[in-house]
Amino acid sequence: MRRTLPLVIAFGIGFAMLIQYFIPHPISENFYNVIVQQWFIIIFAFQFVLALRSFFMHHIRKISQKKEGYWFSAVAIASALFMAIAGFATKRGPFFDSLYKYMYAPLQATMFSLLAFFIASAAFRAFRARNLQATLLLVTATIVMIGRVPIGDYLWKGMPDLVEWIMTVPNMAAMRGIRIGVGLGAIATAMKIMLGIERSYMGGE
């Protein structure tokens, strides 16, 4: 029963949503409205409950077992609670906005900014023209990097147009192929879930 019920729900809702799309009847439209505006949003909200439980369980376990770097977990829990309390207590007032603006935003932006340094270092060490494919990638990347910034136009007037051609012809052709493949794969996976062939969503089968 524990396995059959989710399969029946997945098949029932999946099939109903599929055929609903092709039936422009008030009952069908009302069914769609209820599913989208009520069920979906409520189910999505439950994700937060699961995420919070998972977050606290993970970090409390690390602290209680005194694993390496456990005090980072303590900081994570304290920060999460502090932000939540600040949000509720001030009703998302200026103090809460300041926490976001002057703490969370700079911290996250700093972490992301480090990428520029590591990409430069990695490009210097690993970006080699070892074979034809690597050479093509290297030459294209160099053209795009220079052509996508104003200095490219300054060095050669035709550079931005060349980059636009790379984007709109070879890049687009490749991306379209990938997307068609992904789309067909998504349809096949959806059918497999609805028909109960793909069951990994129920827990690691």
């Binding site: 979906f40 911290l107 996250q108 430069a120 270092s121 490009a123 080699r128 890049n171």
Partner: protein
């Protein structure tokens, strides 16, 4: 050890220092290198430029967290500034994920200082976060009021004067998603395809190549790709005589120009070093075999 071998073993901290310097200096001393607008940016700008106070609303979506803020904030601000200057009603949606709402708040707070006569609920509406992602996009197509209930400030949507005539996508001229994730694909699938609403995108430079196929198919009105896209929008605003603020994207493009130039230089030097040392190793190998 020869010069090239020493270069290949260069301590990476020198590279970090070089990147730091070429990024910081142009921010302090801007060169104001000219930005040439491309067609995808011009298409989006021209579409918004045709709108006015009597037009259907622009539904601007923030999909930026602080990590992508330097690239996407200038886009949000330029589009908001453009719409408010022209008196186009704007529904500014804080985002499909909770961490985005703070960035949206920063953007609207900053821009609205330039337009003291514009009032929330009358000239623009700021919508907060609700869970659902794809369900939210679908639900807006049914009814905005039922989906959100109230704006960010907790004022019921049915009491906002601007929202009296706006029910769903049929009353929206264009949805523009300024995003650092794959959310434009959700808007394409569940908003543009399902409800036929016009759609435009502003995204990080790394995501831009993925969306050219949708531009060519006509599913997107226009595209702003990365900081360059934002700088192009600022340039178009300036050329058409609109206020541009401090043009943060244009200033940032100087840093990006020299950053890219340094990386290309490093790649070229790295490759020269690689081929020179490989050749030297081959020659040494042949000599050793001869000696044997």
């Amino acid at each position: 050890m020869g010069f090239w071998q020493r270069l290949l073993k260069l301590d990476r901290r020198w590279i970090f220092l070089g990147i730091g310097l070429v990024v910081i200096f142009p921010l302090i001393y801007p060169l104001k290198l000219p930005v040439k607008p491309t067609k995808p940016s011009m298409d989006l700008f021209n579409y918004i430029d045709t709108l006015g106070p009597e037009s259907d609303a622009v539904f601007l979506v923030n999909g930026s967290a602080p990590s992508t803020l330097p690239e996407l904030m200038p886009m949000l601000q330029a589009i908001l500034r453009h719409c408010l200057t022209k008196g186009v009603p704007v529904i500014f949606f804080g985002g499909l994920y909770p961490q985005y709402i703070g960035v949206a708040k920063m953007a609207i707070d900053e821009i609205i200082k330039e337009f003291p006569d514009k009032k929330s609920g009358k000239d623009y509406v700021f919508l907060g976060y609700i869970p659902g992602v794809s369900a939210v996009i679908l639900s807006i197509g049914i009814d905005i009021e039922t989906t959100f209930g109230a704006d960010y400030y907790g004022i019921p949507i049915d009491s906002l004067p601007m929202m009296r005539e706006i029910k769903n996508y049929s009353d929206i001229s264009i949805v523009i998603d300024i995003s650092g994730t794959s959310s434009p694909e959700y808007w394409l699938m569940y908003g543009q395809e399902r409800y036929g609403v016009n759609f435009g995108v502003g995204c990080t430079a790394v995501s831009a190549p993925a969306y050219y196929a949708f531009l060519q198919s006509g599913q997107m009105v226009g595209l702003l790709g990365g900081l360059k896209g934002a700088a192009e929008y600022e340039e178009l605003m300036a050329r058409n005589g609109y206020p541009t603020g401090k043009r943060p994207a244009t200033v940032g493009m100087d840093s990006q120009s020299f950053g890219h130039l340094l990386i290309v230089l490093l790649v070229i030097l790295g490759n020269i070093g690689y081929f020179v040392t490989r050749r030297a190793e081959k020659t040494r190998g042949i000599e050793q075999r001869r000696k044997r």
